[in-house]
């Protein structure tokens, strides 16, 4: 190693300026090479491969290993999916879920960000630390805990509803005994709880980002507006929001991307891939491919549809980030 470097030093000393420049020019590409190979092989190649696979009928692992033929079906998988009324259910679930979650996450996150900005130092630190906990908790264990909170015998929510006065509970919900009530059985309730879990996980990032944005805005503007008698609602829409527009733009796009492909929380909450009425695109693709009987080609086609939707959203994101890189 050391003799090698010594050789490099001496040969560099002997180089003409032109040769030296050429060598230096190659160095960044050498440094990039490992990263390019890894990204190419592990991200870009599979991305192309999923498109290729979506054109074939692949129903056995032996086909994947290359031991069996790959029958070409062209757009057959796509035709199967799009002509199946179930796909509409899945698409509706996905879009409505993403829309509701982005909206709720943004509203809650922004409110908490604004709140943190107004609180006293000690209180703000305390609240921010608690908010961080929700963010830091892995999707898996966070979801397991919520599942326990909604447990049908000893869960906290079941207890809470049992604790309601029987008359009130009866007139509101038509039942007073909630023990054994399947919180996850109706699709609507399932989605409500899933939304709770996902919003709980994702609002901290919005809150912290909005807070960081607020700290970078000169506070004189807000004070001046408040002195002039503007309501908090007006101050937000006339001053805060326009100033933080780039931040909000990126946050909305990121949230949309994340909420479109929620998987872990749904998988854990539903206890696997059996609950078809609550399927969204990501879990639909996975279930078609890996629940027996496997249909890898069909699953791949669904994955391509999901990717195409997200591609559009990503386009917006990249444009926004690049514009900001230029400005700063």
């Amino acid at each position: 190693m050391s003799t090698q470097t010594k050789n490099l030093v001496t040969s560099a000393a002997r180089e003409t300026p032109a040769r030296r420049r050429r060598r230096v020019d190659r160095l960044p590409y050498l440094l990039l090479l490992p990263a390019l190979v890894i990204i190419g092989v592990l991200l870009l190649w599979p991305l192309g491969q999923v498109v290729v696979m979506s054109f074939y009928r692949l129903n056995t692992v032996r086909q994947l290993r290359g031991d069996r033929e790959w029958p070409w079906v062209g757009l057959g998988n796509y035709a199967d999916i799009l002509s199946d009324p179930f796909f509409l259910t899945v698409l509706r679930n996905t879009v409505l879920f993403a829309a509701a979650n982005v909206l709720l996450t943004m509203v809650l996150g922004t409110l908490v960000g604004l709140l943190l900005n107004r609180l006293g130092r000690k209180m703000a630190t305390f609240v921010a630390s608690c908010v961080m906990l929700a963010w830091a908790t892995p999707a898996l264990t966070g979801t397991i805990v919520w599942k326990w909170i909604f447990d049908d015998t000893s869960g906290l929510v079941t207890w809470l509803f049992n604790a309601l006065p029987d008359g009130l509970s009866n007139s509101l919900f038509g039942r007073s005994d909630w023990t054994g009530y399947g919180w996850f059985n109706s699709p609507l309730l399932f989605f409500a709880i899933l939304t709770l879990v996902v919003v709980w996980h994702s609002f901290p990032f919005i809150a912290v980002s909005v807070l960081a944005g607020l700290k970078s805005v000169p506070s004189e503007l807000h004070e001046a507006a408040r002195v002039d008698g503007a309501s908090p609602w007006r101050v937000f829409w006339k001053i805060t929001f326009p100033l933080l527009r780039p931040v909000f733009g990126i946050l909305i796009v990121l949230s949309t991307i994340w909420d479109f492909k929620v998987f872990t929380q749904q998988f854990v909450l539903a206890g696997g891939t059996q609950d078809r009425p609550t399927f969204m695109l990501a879990i639909y693709s996975y279930a078609e491919a890996f629940s027996p009987p496997p249909k890898y080609g069909l699953g791949a086609a669904i994955a391509v549809i999901l990717t195409l939707i997200l591609l559009v959203v990503t386009g917006f994101y990249v444009r926004m980030v690049l514009r900001q890189e230029d400005e700063s």
Binding site: L133, P138, V145, D151, S209, L254, I257, Y286
Partner: protein, 276 residues
């Protein structure tokens, strides 16, 4: 009056955010009788470590204990961290220190690939793992997570490398240090804190991942923690005490690591949007 309302709202937010974490730890310390009692105890009345003992000493299947899954997860996560840190450092140096033709294209690509829905790559990567003969092995996961964590790692490290004054390296070069020496003796020590922060993110990515681990590993002895938890605790008659103990053991390292680096998270993701 207004201050009181604000503080009350703050407490409410804090409660909502932190309660599940509190409830997880609190449940894990309660004896089963308290967990399944008709009226929940807010605080364990008779705290016990029995669930932790059960998790750490008992065998979930013959010959395999929770500790084995912990070790599997640690092997995967640490290998991912080391590999991804090394490769990311090289690439970050290239982007932060050199102006070359494809630099902007590379940066745009980094942004774009971070947005690839990884859920869409399960099927083709499953194919790749089958072809490579890596099915049922931990390296299949190390490889996968390396790909997933690398783009963000490069993106984040780029800032740390750029923050090291170039003059230091130039001074070293004038003193006769080679490029390799400058890298090792000057740049590396100064970037080390950034490397730690970046590594933590790669660690969390690998440690938390469920779908790919679920798909690539069939042999129960090679399960990572997330898979083991969904497999053994996903049943209807869940025994919540050990589940919460296992969840706590799984979550604590992540929370500790996360709190160490969370500041970078915001700046990495909203890159440049917030001028500070």
């Amino acid at each position: 009056m207004k201050k009181v309302a604000l503080n009350a709202a703050g407490l409410l937010v804090a409660l909502f955010a932190a309660f599940p974490v509190y409830w997880m730890i609190s449940t894990s310390l309660k004896p089963s009788r308290e967990i399944f009692s008709a009226t929940p105890q807010p605080v364990p009345a008779h705290p016990t470590l029995e669930h932790y003992r059960e998790i750490l000493t008992g065998n979930l299947i013959p010959g395999v204990s929770f500790v084995d899954f912990f070790v599997n997860s640690a092997i995967v996560a640490v290998s991912t961290v080391v590999l991804s840190g090394l490769v990311a450092l090289l690439a970050a140096t290239a982007v932060a220190r050199f102006r070359f033709k494809l630099r902007t294209s590379f940066l745009i690509m980094l942004l774009v690939v971070q947005m690839i829905p990884l859920e869409a790559l399960v099927i083709p990567l499953f194919l790749m793992i089958q072809r490579l003969g890596l099915y049922n092995t931990l390296p299949s996961l190390i490889l996968t997570y390396l790909g997933f964590s690398l783009p963000f790692a490069v993106w984040m490290l780029r800032g740390f490398v750029a923050a090291v004054p170039k003059e230091l390296e130039e001074a070293a070069a004038i003193d006769g240090a080679s490029r390799a020496q400058t890298f090792r003796r000057v740049l590396f020590p100064l970037v080390a804190p950034g490397l730690v922060a970046t590594s933590i993110f790669s660690f969390i990515t690998a440690w938390n991942e469920l779908i790919f681990a679920l798909t690539f590993i069939n042999d129960q002895g090679s399960y990572t923690l997330p898979v083991a938890m969904t497999f053994f605790f996903g049943r209807d008659d869940t025994n919540w005490g050990p589940v919460m103990a296992a969840s706590t053991l799984f979550t604590l390292p992540v929370i500790i690591f996360f709190l160490l680096v969370q500041r970078r998270m915001v700046s990495g993701l909203v890159a440049g949007a917030v001028k500070g």
